[in-house]
Symmetry: C2
Subunit: 139 residues, 2 copies
């Protein structure tokens, strides 16, 4: 686990610092998407808010995490899979937001279907966010 974290940071040419390890660990353990605020709450050692902002930003740039749009004025972040690189993300999967437990998860293996856009329109990236009830919360 600790090994995995260091490997990810090294691969992205980032120096291994306390805050980066801690925040990366939080994402790995969480298994679901987190808002800036969530990250701040979960850090065991308390880092400055500014450090959290900067860490998330650098993780984004390096392709370690990606953003998920929401209608709640709070962007979510989730771990990228292996194929994301510095400056170029490949996270074209569906995101599912459970309205019951609130968890937002990456559905990595569900492809986003093709879309026919009007003539002249060119799609570069597609975000698909599905709201509903997850399997765990279904009774």
């Amino acid at each position: 686990m600790e090994d995995q974290i260091i490997k990810i940071l090294r691969k992205s040419q980032l120096s291994v610092t306390e805050s980066r390890r801690n925040i990366l660990e939080i994402f790995i353990q969480a298994g679901s998407a987190l808002a800036h605020h969530d990250v701040e709450e979960k850090t065991s050692e308390r880092f400055d808010r500014v450090t959290v902002y900067r860490t998330l930003q650098v993780f984004m740039e390096k392709g370690i995490i990606h953003t998920i749009p929401t209608t709640e004025n709070a962007v979510l972040y989730a771990l990228c899979k292996d194929d994301c690189e510095e400056g170029h993300h490949h996270d074209n999967h569906i995101h599912f937001v459970c309205e019951d437990c609130g968890a937002t998860t990456c559905m990595d293996d569900i492809h986003i279907p093709e879309i026919k856009l009007p003539l002249g329109y060119n799609a570069l990236q597609i975000n698909m966010v599905v709201n509903g009830i997850c399997a765990k919360c279904k009774k």
Copy 2:
């Protein structure tokens, strides 16, 4: 135009006030989605920020506008079509964000395709946001 505005407000059982007319007009003229900040900038008469917040909120509740998720920590708002009612939106269309001109538009006639979710998952609402280059900006 003025008639149209009044009709919309009346239909939603809202009293016709200066700020509501002005803000609704902004949406009709804009033709594309606007952030809170955009609305504030465009109001000819200056209303208090709080009034803008409250107006957008009440327009949302009444089904006059709907939200569009973004990855930029700024929810966008756009006019609903006729079939949205108080407390129940029907805006399951695609949204297109042009990375060149920045305009976000509702593609009302492009349906969001069906999605096969894993067993136990239940979709209630789907948001699909396509980033790319719009027809106008394509050269």
